[in-house]
Amino acid sequence: MEFAVEAVDLTKRFEDLVAVDKLNLQVKRGEIFGLLGPNGAGKTTTFRMLTGLTLPTSGSATVAGFDVVKEPEKVKARIGVLPETSNMYDDLTAWYNLDFTGKLYGIPKDERRRRIDELLKMFQLEHRKHDYVHSFSKGMHRRLTIAAALVHNPEILFFDEPTSGLDAQTSRYIHELVKKLHEQGVTIILTTHLIEEADQLCERVAIIDYGKIVAQGAPSELKHRFQETEVIEIEVKKLDDKILQAMCKLNDVQEVLREANKARIYTRDASEILPHLVSLVNEKNRKIISLKTSEPTLEDVFIQLTGREIREEKPTVAESVRRRGGRW
């Protein structure tokens, strides 16, 4: 078994809409892999196909060595799945939730008990084990959900939006946990729309948009691919379309994007443009509030590849319909 997960031309169609379009991806064993894309890109649909929640319209996927369509139960026995929303029974106790999950995965009694104790300790939930889950805070709830996903010692963990809705402290805890599990050899696949999360945590990232993978590789590798591009971030008083257009017209400018009061100028060599930029601003009698040059970030890579920011600008009608239709 070479890859932990391999998807070949994976496609999912809902009536007219193609949510996932001949997607190809490979996740190596033991790595932390991120699926990064905006909402509606097809991340969740891909996630659902890889975890056996949905059947693909065409194409195939092999997870933990087994085909998701032909042998789903074998796949499910080897993977842990963490959906974005909770999947605990609120009116049962924490302990019972873990026990039930264990039974669901066919773990024999003694081993189950041992594992539950281990997990409760690891997740610092021992003191609440006989309390009803509805009384848990969001963070505790999440910890319990993760514990439940690990009861059967999965080889691969699928994590959908791991830190969504969580505070900074809990988010950091989750990131630490992911790293710890990684050390233990678990393959971790997470879907996220948070670029920093993908950048900091993942060994390799696949950027997905409109149901297709637009780039796949290590974050550093992806950034290198765009090494030619540097970014100048300039904040100007009264940043209007006129001056933006003038900036576009400067030599060697690849693209100019607006972010609130700042203009992000993409160019091959920032130092070349800088003087021209400054004189342009002066010509137009505007004041420069701040000026910064930087290496490309994963966010820049994303913009280059998809042509828009992940905190989207107003989509066209076609884009919004597509996105709405693609949501379950």
Partner: protein, 243 residues
């Protein structure tokens, strides 16, 4: 197969509270007819009616059981079951079993109330056991129908609409409350193919008659046919909705 059992236990345990609530509801239903038969056909009508009330309780409980699917789907538990290494058939079977058990318990409670009020089961212990089996069978049939509906409906409002549309006709167009001889021709015809009637008839025969196997067997066969169809539909719709 162990998986059915596991699933059933969890559902069962997490619904103990509503079970208690529902059994109180069952109690009330069992008591309701009292004032009506006070004067007239006292023990006779009560005896006549009790099988109907028992079956009615089973009807309401079982028809509602599909709700668990709707809640599960909404709250994400369904996903938990769907990613576990158990077949979808096990999942739906577990739910059907759980609903059947609930139905039997509810029905039994009402029956017990009837017994406390002086109604008897003329066919003794054997009869009582058969009664449990028959209401179990009917409960399974209804629960499957409920599950089939819940699986294919997107909102709980549609589900409720369906349940309410179905339960009253099933109950009234049957032999539960009045002998079919009192009914107009068209009503009698409907009552004669109504699965509810078959269940009531079987239970009634066991309570105020004797072990009239011929009659009971006809009823049971009808119920088996009913349950067979709805169970199949339940599994089919559930599988279709969870792919």
């Amino acid at each position: 197969m162990k998986h059915w059992y596991r699933e059933k236990i969890a559902i069962f345990m997490s619904l103990i509270q509503p079970l208690i609530w529902l059994s109180l509801f069952g109690n009330t239903l069992g008591n309701a007819p009292q004032p009506f038969i006070a004067g007239l056909e006292a023990p006779n009508y009560l005896s006549f009616m009790t099988p109907g009330i028992v079956t009615m309780t089973v009807l309401f409980t079982s028809l509602f059981s599909g709700m668990s699917i709707i809640w599960d789907r909404r709250l994400g538990f369904m996903n938990k079951l769907l990613v576990a290494p158990i077949s979808r058939t096990s999942i739906v079977a577990g739910k059907m079993m759980a609903a059947t058990v609930r139905g039997i318990i509810q029905g039994s409670i009402v029956l017990a109330i009837g017994l406390a009020l002086g109604v008897t089961v003329d066919t003794g212990i054997l009869g009582a056991i058969l009664i449990f089996a028959i209401i179990g069978l009917f409960s399974l049939g209804l629960a499957s129908m409920s599950i089939a509906a819940a699986a294919s409906m997107k909102t709980h409002e549609t589900f409720f609409a369906f349940i309410n549309l179905v339960n009253l006709p099933l109950m009234f167009l049957s032999n539960a409350l009045f002998p079919t001889t009192f009914m107009p021709e068209w009503m009698r015809m409907v009552a004669s193919v109504n699965p509810f009637s078959f269940c009531v008839d079987a239970v009634r025969t066991l309570m105020i008659g004797s072990l009239d196997w011929n009659r009971i067997l006809v009823d049971v066969e009808a119920l088996i046919a009913f349950t067979g169809v709805t169970t199949a539909l339940g599994v089919i719709f559930f599988k279709r909705a969870t792919t």
